[in-house]
Amino acid sequence: MYNFAYHRPGSLAEAERKLKAAADGRLLAGGQTLLPTLKQRLAKPSDLIDIGRLAELSFIKADGRSVQIGATTRHATVAASAEVRKAIPALAKLAGGIGDPQVRNMGTIGGSLANSDPAADYPAAVLALGATIHTTERAIAADDFFKGLFETALKPGEIIKSVSFPVPEKAGYMKFAQPASRFCMVGVFVCKAGSGVRVAVTGAGPCAFRQSAMEKALASNFSAAAIESVKVSPAGLNADIHCSAEYRAHLVGVMARRALTEANG
């Protein structure tokens, strides 16, 4: 690691000021992606602003129509939350499958979304559930948030405060983990809500994306059978030593069907 100056502001407002004042500042929430990156000397920030302990960013609120989760809420907290398990069990399941238990004890939802790792789990839920990302400056719809590989709509200095998820009628999540890293090789989140059916895929492309052919096929029949004939094209999908684009495309179908079975179960 290159050296940096570490700060632990006492409030979100102070964090914003520190971030803006730093030459090349980075937010530190759970650090489960940032610290490994720094250890490999792949980044050289001048300042780390630790927001991991800000109480105002760590909460779960549910009101029957939506679940709102503060940006620095740990994955383990979301996974264990009675409110989340009741309102959107698929979201709790997703959180409980991120990384490993120790990573879940540190990693945060805001950190995951801001990083937009192509193999992260949360983006699939955010997109499929049609969540809204609340920042220090605005509210961003999920559909407008993920822009590409490690790229989001966040502007420099903008900090995620919370994410609100509308409670769906039914939802399911299934992932196929990359065997070595256990990150998502393919993850599919399916959701049926009053507003319609949404299917989001993570792990397979540069960032999470919606699978519109499946959404169309599921609109009238929200079941695994309805997408049997939907062909997933490998064009544009990721390929690496663990998984070709063709196999990824195939897994999108399998994971989607299994997520649907779970959602309907």
């Binding site: 690691m1 290159y2 050296n3 490999q40 000397r41 196929f176 065997p179 070595a180 890293s181 990150f183 030593i241 663990h242 998984c243 070709s244 196999y247 195939h250 897994l251 399998v254």
Partner: protein
């Protein structure tokens, strides 16, 4: 059997310190005034090395020194030696190019060390390493094992076609004859995938020089400190043994990768004198991936000739073995003498011929990894036997039984040199079939099919040759060292015992097993016995631990030392009890005058030996301490049958190992709990090879693609089943303990069993290891397409 004697499941002496965080691993050692080293490593697989400019780095805060090959040359530091000299089939020696400790002229693999930085802190050393400017002009990289002899580029000028050796074993004419008359010839071509050992403790070394005495101490993560002292002292640094102490303290796993002498050990030892401070280096895991010697990496063709009934007539094998960029310590031995002599397996195959070509590539050096040659051999034999069974439509258990060497046939000389000493192969097979309930497999398969799963079963009836021996044979085939072992039994005046062994425990539990052995034999309470290993200043000599040799060779040395103790004890006791020596018998820790109730305990005898007031000083020296060296008469031959059962999800290609039966014959067993643990761990590594682990280099650039746990798939708890483990016991007839060794069996047996099971589930002939989900899915797709036709 007593509670702590031979055969007892004694809890380990080692565990308390490990469970309370009080182990002392090399990186836990900090010497006064210690500085820290890091290595600048080549980012290229193959390049000419131009100018190295370290001026900026040397001026950075905390930097004590930056060393390159020029500094080593000025001090006449030698290259890293190879410990084995193979004779090729044309009678010439292997090609043995120099292996400089820091790259000279060229870098030959991504990770080859170019410069060493020593600084006050590790962070400062790393900061400085980044500031060193190195001129590289890239050369085409030789990566592909099979393609290396035809590559346009040469890794070493000494080997223009990248061939280190061409070697053969067996009778070619007789084998050709067997094939000519065969009713059936089964064939396979496959890759034995390259593995990265990944002991959980990364390599580390601390060098310290004492100006007052001129003595050096090296603390290092080694399986064999005396071997390191010999190789490093004699060949690299020209330090005589009496000035060099090598300590291998608690070592966090080895699996072969910590046998070898690595340049970093020599460099910290050399540098500590140059900078006048102790110097520590600890590998980062990513550095371990690049620089620990890798394992396996063969490209093989095999053919088995049989008659119509499935009797084996002849076996023909051709392998190309990747040796990497430089010859690691035992590299030429592994794919030759530790490999092809095992091609008879457990069978009476009358004619065998094998050829092996060893090649250099621009990849990390390849050497022994758990099993070393024998897993590769078992894979060859057990995959082709399974294939023959399928070709001939014979039951896989039956074809094996039909060809087993029968118990009455021992000693049995195979067509590939070895003389097997003992075995009961059918017994292990029968027991394994019972354990896994082989006869009801069809029912389980049908039940799985209802759940959409493909169930398969696979056998592996393996044999290994352990405790490489005798030294004269090892020397004749090319080993540049003897392969005996040393042991000391030291009684203290009040009756406690220090056991000193030249083997090294890095997980095997020798502190427990050897204490059990001594307690059982000498009748000394287990808690009064401590075992010392891993320090050249405390141990007369030792060849260390690898090749499942510790109990068979090291245990036998201790057994011989105990014989001497008992002999001397009898003479002392005879004097004390005024009896004739031939009337003294030793049993349960006491010397008795036969036919009387007169006795002296061994503790009383020890006391008399150290306080010789009443002692036959004109005949005997005081003291009760004996040293023995043991050079075995033959290898030992552990063998057994493993059976794997798997279920495949054809939609995803995911394989689940659902059951595993292992029946091994290790001869006599000292501590079954520890032996079972060795079997479990070996199987896990074997499953790793077959299902998960595969080292990948980029074909063109020679970059290691699987350079971290993000891409190199290590077996985790949820990848593995619980195992059913049982044993048969056919004592080794030629060593005093009747033991055979258990450390590698699982890793040797498992890959073939698992691949036989997976191909059985999928109804296909072959599949490449590791059987990744994508590979299995593609095979399942192809099978589905065939079924639909």
């Amino acid at each position: 059997m007593t509670e702590t004697g031979i055969g007892a499941r004694v809890k380990r002496k080692e565990d308390f310190r490990f469970l309370t965080g009080q182990g002392t691993y090399t990186d836990d050692i900090n010497r006064h005034g210690q500085a820290h080293a890091c290595f600048l490593r080549s980012p290229h697989a193959h390049a000419k090395l131009g100018a190295i400019n370290a001026a900026k780095a040397k001026a950075m805060p905390g930097v004590l020194a930056v060393f390159t090959h020029a500094d080593l040359a000025a001090d006449k530091v030698g290259g890293v030696p190879c410990g084995f000299g193979l004779t090729q089939k044309n009678g010439k020696p292997q090609i043995e190019p120099p292996h400089p400790a820091l790259a000279a002229g060229k870098v030959r693999y991504a990770g080859d060390a170019v410069a060493m930085v020593v600084a006050e802190t590790l962070a400062q050393a790393r900061d400085a390493a980044e500031a060193i400017e190195v001129g590289y002009s890239e050369l085409p990289a030789v990566v592909d094992t099979a393609g290396a002899p035809r590559a346009k580029s040469a890794v070493h000028d000494e080997a223009p076609n990248n061939v280190c050796f061409e070697w053969e074993i067996g009778d070619k004419a007789k084998t050709d004859e067997a094939f000519a008359k065969a009713a059936n010839v089964s064939k396979l071509e496959f890759v034995n995938n390259r593995l990265i050992p990944n002991a959980m403790e990364p390599r580390a070394a601390v060098g310290e020089y004492d100006r007052a005495t001129g003595n050096y101490t090296l603390y290092t993560t080694s399986q064999n400190p005396h071997v390191i002292r010999l190789l490093m002292g004699a060949f690299v640094l020209a330090i005589p043994e009496h000035r060099l102490r090598v300590v291998a303290p608690d070592v966090g796993g080895g699996f072969g990768s910590k046998i070898f002498h690595y340049a970093e050990e020599a460099l910290v030892t050399w540098a500590c004198r140059k900078v006048g401070r102790p110097v520590k280096w600890t590998a980062e895991r990513s550095e371990s991936f690049l620089t620990d010697a890798h394992g396996r990496d063969h490209v093989t063709k095999v053919e088995l000739a049989t008659d119509r009934e499935g009797n084996f007539l002849g076996l023909r094998v051709h392998s190309i073995a990747n040796l990497g960029a430089y010859l690691s310590t035992f590299a030429p031995m592994v794919p030759t003498w530790l490999y092809a002599p095992l091609f008879a397996g457990q069978y009476r195959t009358p004619a065998i011929h094998a050829e092996v070509i060893g090649v250099f590539t621009n990849t990390s050096p390849v050497d022994a990894y758990r099993g070393a040659g024998r897993p590769e051999a078992t894979y060859v034999v057990e995959r082709i036997v399974e294939t023959a069974a399928r070709d001939l439509k014979l039951d896989p258990a039956e074809i094996r039984r039909k060809n087993f060497i029968a118990p009455a046939q021992f000693p049995y000389t195979t067509p590939v040199v070895l003389q097997y000493d003992s075995g009961q192969y059918a017994l292990a097979m029968d027991k394994a079939c019972q354990l896994i309930d082989y006869k009801n497999f069809a029912k389980r398969k049908a039940e799985a099919e209802k759940r959409g799963r493909l169930r398969g079963i696979g056998f592996s009836a393996y044999i290994e040759a352990c405790g490489v021996a005798p030294s004269a044979v090892a020397g004749a085939i090319g080993a540049r060292a003897g392969l005996y072992e040393a042991g000391v039994i030291r009684f203290h005046p009040t009756g406690s015992v220090t056991v000193i062994t030249g083997t090294h425990s890095h997980g095997q539990g020798h502190e427990t097993t050897f204490a059990q052995l001594v307690s059982d034999r000498l009748g000394v309470p287990y808690d009064s016995i401590d075992v010392v290993h891993g320090d050249t200043d405390r141990i007369p000599f030792g060849m260390g631990t690898y090749g499942s040799r510790s109990i068979a060779v090291g245990g036998s040395a201790l057994s011989k030392a105990m014989d001497k103790i008992v002999d001397k004890g009898k003479r002392i006791a005879a004097h004390l009890m005024e009896a004739a020596v031939q009337d003294i018998e030793f049993k349960n820790g006491a010397f008795r005058v036969a036919g009387t109730d007169k006795q002296k305990t061994i503790q009383e005898v020890a006391f008399a030996a150290y306080v010789p007031h009443n002692y036959p000083l004109n005949e005997l020296e005081p003291g009760l301490e004996e040293t023995a060296y043991y050079d075995p008469a033959n290898f030992t031959y552990p063998a057994g049958t493993h059976i794997a059962e798997v279920e495949v999800d054809p939609q995803t290609g995911q394989v689940e190992v659902v059951d595993w039966a292992a029946v091994d014959d290790f001869g006599n067993v000292i501590n079954p709990m520890i032996v079972e643990g060795q079997v479990h761990g070996g199987i896990a590594q074997g499953i790793g090879q077959a299902l998960l682990e595969g080292c990948v280099y980029d074909d063109r650039s020679g970059q290691l693609v699987t350079g971290s746990y993000m891409d190199y798939c290590m077996p985790r708890a949820d990848n593995l089943p619980s195992y059913r483990v049982d044993m048969t016991h056919t004592p080794c007839p030629h060593n005093p303990l009747g033991v055979k060794g258990c450390g590698e069996a699982g890793a040797i047996a498992a890959p073939a069993a698992l691949m036989n099971a997976i191909t059985n589930a999928l109804g296909i002939k072959d599949l490449a290891m590791p059987a990744t989900p994508e590979r299995v899915w593609r095979a399942a797709q192809a099978r589905g397409a065939r079924a639909a036709e």
